[in-house]
Symmetry: C2
Subunit: 317 residues, 2 copies
């Protein structure tokens, strides 16, 4: 104990629900099973493992389900923190069950513990002045005006493709991760811990000592990065759908990166090589980890985890 390497692995949305899929449970279970099979590489190398995961497609569906539940059956609509809590139950359960099945299939024995996890944000985070993250159903302008008159604090933005209006919320920085000491200890004892789902359930101190949920989405890579720092992880893996980070992505001049220093990474970010909502937040999460004491962040596809030639390593320098 204590000598084994500790890795935090952030599952991308792809690991859970793929583009073009409807999102049936069978699809999600199969995707997760496959990703967990890839993670066997880390288990077999005797890493201790903490899994963070996204919830974009799932919480998107949940927001529509609670919206429809209100319209059809009059069930009070649930705020975003509660929808995030639903999604942690959903995704955590699927990961825990499928990873258990993968381990059993390979005659490995490890406990998997899934925690419902609150992540504290600062109500003075500047992100709250400029909410940008669209969530939930599309509304007509009239519907949007009605909602806005009911909840004047809510912000809405017009969809650029003309599909209507959507509520937008802030994406504040994670400040504190509830139960991080327990997460670290369970992981260092060899249990696989599933936590900070969807970036964590966003909560804030409405007054000292009193937590309350808040309408916000915490970036899941950043939350996993903060967790990796807090628990002194040796390595931080961000799983995505490409084997390596690229410059000039999807152009004839595309360059795959194998090792990037954080000063190079910052320059590439500033030069606009990375898409917002996709690779850019991953690069920022990687920089955050390495700048705060982490040694290496590896961005790669799940299927490439065992391949020392694959992946992009973000390192100090």
């Amino acid at each position: 104990m204590g000598e084994k390497k500790l890795a935090v692995v952030a599952f991308g949305g792809n690991a859970l629900l793929r583009a073009g899929q409807k999102g049936t449970i069978e699809e999600q279970e199969a995707n997760v099973y496959e990703t967990c099979q890839s993670l066997l590489e880390l288990v077999q190398k005797d890493y201790n493992i903490v899994i963070g995961h996204g919830n974009g497609p799932q919480v998107g569906n949940i927001l529509l389900q609670v919206n429809a539940g209100e319209k059809m059956y009059g069930i009070p609509e649930m705020p975003l923190d509660i929808c995030g809590a639903y999604s942690q139950g959903l995704i955590g359960y699927i990961i825990e069950q499928q990873f258990m099945n993968v381990l059993k299939k390979n005659n490995l024995k490890k406990d998997i513990i899934t925690l419902v996890t609150q992540v504290v944000v600062d109500k003075n985070d500047p992100a709250f002045q400029n909410p940008t993250k669209p969530i939930g159903p599309y509304y007509t302008e009239e519907e949007m005006e009605v909602l806005k008159s009911k909840n004047p604090k809510d912000s809405f933005a017009k969809d650029p493709k003309g599909k209507g209006w959507r509520k937008v919320v802030a994406s504040p920085k994670p400040v504190e991760i509830n139960n991080k000491e327990t997460i670290e200890r369970l992981a260092r004892e060899g249990k696989i811990v599933v936590t900070v789902g969807g970036g964590g359930i966003p909560v804030y101190h409405v007054e000292p000592g009193k937590l309350q949920g808040i309408d916000a989405v915490i970036d899941k890579d950043l939350a996993s990065s903060m967790l990796a720092i807090f628990i002194n992880a040796d390595e931080f893996y961000i799983l995505t759908d490409v084997p390596r980070v690229c410059l000039n992505f999807h152009t004839p001049d595309e360059i795959q990166l194998s090792t990037v220093t954080i000063s190079e990474a910052k320059k590439y970010l500033a030069d606009g090589h990375f898409t917002e909502g996709s690779m850019a937040p991953k690069i920022r999460a990687a920089i955050n980890f390495v700048e705060n004491g982490g040694k290496t962040c590896i961005i790669t596809e799940a299927g490439q985890l065992g391949n020392p030639e694959a992946g992009t390593r973000i390192v100090m320098g």
Copy 2:
């Protein structure tokens, strides 16, 4: 450590969502806050505490939400195990947050850990031959016939009050509780552990070593009772909405019971003193605990936890 008493407390549905309430988040948070205040009695007596909880009203709402989400937005409807997972996220989050707030308010420091918990059932449990637990929306006979032709294995029952047809599922016995060793250890270290929500997410071995969810509802008092046995709890509290168990309940001959031996309890059960779906499963869970090594089970209202004169104690004999 190890010397303190370990108590398992099963929250009733009432602790979460009360009859006549619509089920808004504000209502549920306030109910849970109040129940957690009552639990302070146990914290101040230095008990280690594990909380199990029901999910009846919540999973009822979730089933309607996922049904409405399919009808309005075409989101694949989720099976009952997944709806249970949603509810563990939801309720676990609310309990954890409100209990943290109660502790802070009282200058107490304890970690609260909420686990997503699978509970294994036996696919040969006779309950699967006779599903009786109604779940989800009411259907017309025509709608029911369409559903039955799509999923011939599903069972439906006609509502006795004429509100239509509902799907009915089995209520099998809990056989194994995932991560029970970790639950016990965390609790004995002084952390408050929230687990087996809604009786646990029902899963079974579809083949050796392979878990899968199943359409079933595990009785939450029985699941908490099994957990209390597994983790060698000293006391098992079942919270309900009456201060004491009664004979001839709600009649002029009503008798409040203060101490009941398990042989008396069995006789009262056989004599039909306790309502199915209400006090009867609580009495069975209490008997199960005491017959399997537990010392005392106390059935009472949350508000009476500090009152040594209140509650009904079920003991050996």
